[in-house]
Subunit: 633 residues, 2 copies
Amino acid sequence: MPDNKTAEAAKDATILSAALSCGVYINSACGGEGVCGKCKVIVKSGQVIAPPESAITAGEKKRNIYLACLTTVHSDLEVEVPPESKLDFDNLTPQELELRLKGLYAKSEEVESVTAGAKEKFAHSPLTTKIYLKLPVPNLEDRLSDLERLCRAIRRIKDIPNIHTGLVNVKQLGELLRDSDWKVTVTLGLKDGVTELINIEPGDTAGKNYGLAFDIGTTTITGQLIDLSHEKILGTRATYNKQAVFGSDVISRIIFSQEENGLEKLHNTVTDTINQMSRELIEEHKVDLNDVTSILCTGNTTMIHLLLGVDPKFIRREPYVPTLNFVPVSRASEAGIIINPHGLLYCVPGVASYVGGDTTSGVLSSGIYRDKEISVLIDIGTNGEIALGNEDFLLAAAASAGPAFEGSGVSCGMRSSRGAIEKVKINAKTMEVSYQTIGRARPRGICGSGYIDIIAALLRVKLIDKNGKFSLTAAKRLREIDSGKAFVLVEKKDADSASDIVISEADIENLKRAKAAIYSATSCLIRHMNLDFGAIKKIFIAGGFGTCLDVESAITIGLLPDVERKKIIFVGNSALAGARQMILSSRAANTADEIARKITYFELSVDAHYMDEYVAALFFPHTDLNKFPSIIN
Amino acid sequence: MPDNKTAEAAKDATILSAALSCGVYINSACGGEGVCGKCKVIVKSGQVIAPPESAITAGEKKRNIYLACLTTVHSDLEVEVPPESKLDFDNLTPQELELRLKGLYAKSEEVESVTAGAKEKFAHSPLTTKIYLKLPVPNLEDRLSDLERLCRAIRRIKDIPNIHTGLVNVKQLGELLRDSDWKVTVTLGLKDGVTELINIEPGDTAGKNYGLAFDIGTTTITGQLIDLSHEKILGTRATYNKQAVFGSDVISRIIFSQEENGLEKLHNTVTDTINQMSRELIEEHKVDLNDVTSILCTGNTTMIHLLLGVDPKFIRREPYVPTLNFVPVSRASEAGIIINPHGLLYCVPGVASYVGGDTTSGVLSSGIYRDKEISVLIDIGTNGEIALGNEDFLLAAAASAGPAFEGSGVSCGMRSSRGAIEKVKINAKTMEVSYQTIGRARPRGICGSGYIDIIAALLRVKLIDKNGKFSLTAAKRLREIDSGKAFVLVEKKDADSASDIVISEADIENLKRAKAAIYSATSCLIRHMNLDFGAIKKIFIAGGFGTCLDVESAITIGLLPDVERKKIIFVGNSALAGARQMILSSRAANTADEIARKITYFELSVDAHYMDEYVAALFFPHTDLNKFPSIIN
């Protein structure tokens, strides 16, 4: 319930795995460790066995609420999954999608433009190209073999000394050339510096060459179908990463990957999602699957390891070394991705275990690597990634903000999907709360940007102090919950939730730590270069999160520095914008390679100043109020 | 019979295919076209349907002799395969093998040396190399990813800017490196100018790196297992090419390839043979299959097409263009060859449809491409290949000698296998014939070199004239057979044959045309360069055929020119010697590439002088006796 689905489960199977087996996705942010308390379900009838569990209160126990991840089946059961425990994997609505894709560089009318979200237009030279060739017919004076004849014709157009190809393209080449009257279209793919002849088709099909650009986020997967011949985005799809059922952040997924078949499940989940999205895209745009000749993926280092089926376990073991940052170009089919059977899979190179290809492509599309002046790119998330630099240097760090911004580890947190509270206002006189939800749906919980807005609102009307503790004036709406005081935003009766939607002091503490991690990481990088925020020309905020973020709120709580507001630029999905540039231009791809090599990874945990900076940031907005002159206290 | 084997056959199946299905190999030189008359069998009981067939005489018909290729099964049958119709696919005896491998450059004691049969020793740098690496253990200061760490270590030893690899080598790399304490052996393979990391093994296995060199001849397949690390030949195997059941020469095999599943059958036959030979070799020398990292094949253009499963049909259609001369390096497994699953398959580049990689490797190992003086390399066979040149130029032609030298198209011809008459003497006074057979077995027929010896002997005692017609003095041993007069060498009672072993005037005519083709092709090439035989420093005779050839006999009949005898050098299997050089040295492989590009293919059929030269050579030894001063007539 409420989906009326039935699953057969072995005795001792968890409710979580039984639900998964019939396609009911239950939130499991910690990956089934019994820690996050996000997978609460109500057992309506039947016998279960459950360990004593701190995440379940005595009151919940009475109402037959259990953690799905730890509770095992011992008879036929009827189980209800309350809305706040459900993972909703529907595609995003067009409105949500648009929100996620647009940044200041990509105004809504530009979403269809390939340069949207990217600062530079690189020369058009797709990683996989089609060329139409009319070959001279062999005769007794010109008896070059079929394959060499083909390569000669290619070389007359492109200066490629070394053309690789596989036997599969050669076996029926003689017949193909003669049947097509020596008029064929070849598909060439760049493969780590070498050109591979990946396909030969009869006739002129040079106009039909398509590629896929994918940003594989821990939470969201966004993909675009691109007309490589005509430099056009044909369509976009975004969906939640279904790997979330195995854990909401990269660490819990890495842990899950070590379970039996865990890596395989994670790998199959992401490739299935990619394949379904690309199938929808090509069907909608009437593109033949065989004309899709390449796919380029960007994402954090863990996501790329899982995409390739590479064991990610060493990413989280000291000294945090990934198996690979630069991914060899392979056939897409080798990774289980369905495009043309000879089509190629490219991955954007990463920098380190926690600074991935998404940062590289963000640096590319934001253009910070080519400016004289210094800019910073901040991708706010569980694994915040910050890049600083200009044409002379690039420095990047990972800020472990924890999952609060993703709506995890906070009492009513949820991902920024339908029903999440994203904006909040509190009337300074009446203390009346008004809010707005994603999709204008009944409220189910609070997303990361919602939390920032709430804390800023609470600060503005002084319902909390600079430590994040509730003041006496808040008393009217305060409840005492298990973890302490909580401020009620929406009462249960007005919500799509089993309980009131609240923000607790513990939640505020979590978010304070998260914002301090991002702020101090950024300030550490800047300080490391002997600079201050005043010397920074632009602060690019990347990711879907940024799109929803209210700048004033973010500065009010001290997540972002108190700089001229026009310096703060939301670049939306800069990772996808970079991926698009690369699939359309080998020069952009080469530039991304250079960027990834050029970025110096800066390890915050070993920096002498980081702890001081972090502790100083553990206030709203900061210990040093001189750093936030525009925030009136 | 006589093997006592039983096959189930569909009604209308040919006796040939029924025999093949139970592993009885019947000679079928023409590929089952009913032309060559080599597949005669005796139907002892049962009903067959056979078309009227000119290859069967009235006498044979009475004895229930039929052509197996045209005769179909219509009831249970008992069929006897006479010895002369059987194809014997046993491995060659050690003596036969030695005979085939030795040339003047490879004296018997040198057979085990890698330089045997090759003029130059190239620097040791195998196409697939193993390198043992001790990697620095990562720490917080050195956090390069596993794959880049591996590549960095390789680059510290070898200057390789661009190292390719596949996902399959990366998936468990993290665990492999740590489990092996960061001590691993990598296998690197050269792939068309790019270095591929093809394997990573724990520990130090650099000393265990093996390769296979194969010469895939139309008639014989010879293979060697080579210790690539220590530059040593471990063992050699030779066997008949079982494709012979589908036709004895390349043309009949190309025709067969166009039948249903024909190409697949031919392809599987050669790969099965290679796999069996390599299995025997590695078992004998206790080598692990996984340590066999490469195989290099040489052979004529058709054999290489069939090996790769590439449709060869355009080789025999004007303008005679093969699908490929330069074969892309592929995984051996792609061609069905079983070595290390990531091991590479190399093929020696060819020049044209009828001048293949065997010529290229022969030119390499004979060294004619690097001498100041001009030499010629002659590979005598159905498709004779002749290369002429020095360090400045290389010219090659194909001489279509017909199958007489392979023992086909002549009445008692057979391949040079057990029981073939290979040497003949005729006492000038008594006209008594003495002969010697391969393996000292009871005579079954006559091989190519045997025919040359017989004709030379007949010429010396003047039993035939310079036209090849029998003189009156031969009358005592002459029989009248279907095709005219025939000279009896061995009577049926002394032979392992259903009839007398004879040489007929028609046979002599066939051999005259064959020797004229080779001689005139050679003289045409030389004349084309405005030279004569006197200007040629050395005449290299290549191939197994050359090994058995008696020089005096060959000059006596006018197959070879009448030059100083020491100029004529038998180089044995020069193709295999070249293949061995290449698999052991990338410099040799590059040289072979340059040779193949440098060789100018000379088309005899369009040369104005060729017909005159050919007609002039249609005498024993030649029209112009001044060209053969040492031959007393």
